[in-house]
Amino acid sequence: MTTDSIKWFWYASPQTFFPLAGTIARVCAVLAAILTVAGLYVGFFVAPTDAQQGEVYRVIFIHVPAAWMSMFIYVVMAVWAAVGLAFNTRLSFLIARALAPTGALFTFIALWTGSLWGRPTWGTYWVWDARLTSELILLFLYFGFIALQAAIDERRRADRAGAVLAIVGVVNVPIIYYSVKWWNTLHQGASVSFSKAPSMAATMLTGMLLMALAFWMYSIAVAMIRVRCEIAENQGQTTFSEAQPPA
């Protein structure tokens, strides 16, 4: 065993990860705040009014980043779940568990903001197009993961069962997306179709990217604090912090 491989697992122990998580959370929270201000400034004051949609297109600055995060977090969750199953490191499962609520929240936000954007532009709050339907099912996948872990009292079984579910789910997400896409294109009954703004002004893209990064930093910060809470609640008396399980 080389020195490199020892270092690799150094932070896999909750005890050593605990302070690191705190540092990461603080840094990412500050970055999230800065990026949010920058992103919203660009989104509202720099990006021009859209020729076709007027001002309402500005919903894009939270809708698209939220949708990106909803999918990204699910994949990251599944990756940590797989790492946990492969290396039997408890911390990996804790991180997966900590990511799920934030992922579900962003999925809901994507659906909500998309719905409000759709009403004035498509004339309806909801259509069964490929993206919306598969995003809705993604929300159910998140709920399933959270519900399964909540239903199992024994931590080890909960962690591992959730991990299997997350991995099966992540394999299914592209399948669900393509099957719904195919279903939708065959049923060309929908009188409205959503197409991205053909060429996006550079400022619009910048605003979107800034908000996406802001959401990403936010997710990391929130997940790190949640992991710290998970560690504290499940380690009994700790010597590495004052953290205690709730009385």
Binding site: F143, A147, A151, R157, A161, N172, I176, S179
Partner: protein, 222 residues
Amino acid sequence: MIALARALVGRDLLLAWRRKSDVATALLFFIIVASLFPLGIGAEPNLLRAIAPGVIWVAALLSSMLSLARLFAADHADGTLEQMLLGAAPLGVVAAAKAAAHWLVAGLPLVLIAPLIALQYDVAADLYGVLALSLLLGTPVLSSIGAIGAALTLGLRGGGILLSLLVLPLYVPVLILGAGAVEMAAAGLSPQGQLLLLAAMLIVAAAFAPWATAAALRISLE
């Protein structure tokens, strides 16, 4: 290994035969659910003909899912499942055999009864074949994927509802392809694409789902 699988399937079939009421109940559920829609939506023939593929497929989905909870429950209760875990037989083969038996008992009857439901909905006669074929290809996929859910929720309180929440999102592609095949045929187009994709899903599910089910069983029985 084939002999082992055959023995396991035979055992499950024998057990199901001894409790015919369980099997019959699932089948009756399928028929009742499919009969509810005309009562709720109104018996307009054109409307019913249009929604028939979707309704039959959703009813098949729900019926297949209801009988999933029983998949491992009986063996788990009397300790047989743990013996299978400890035994020399590869757990993947056990899982595959159980899913196959589930299909024979809860999936195949649906395929056979579906034309009767289609008759109720006044579906055109030339669609019966596509309907039966889509269900024939799709229901084994439902059994395979459902087995994963059943293994994950083994012995949990609120298991049935939780199982539904876990498994229904994974069922969605099968539903879309299966109902879609029949709807394509109804529109006069070829259902070949959907049916081939269903066949592909069947092969992939049959190959990989037992592995996931076995992993889930080990986790649930530790």
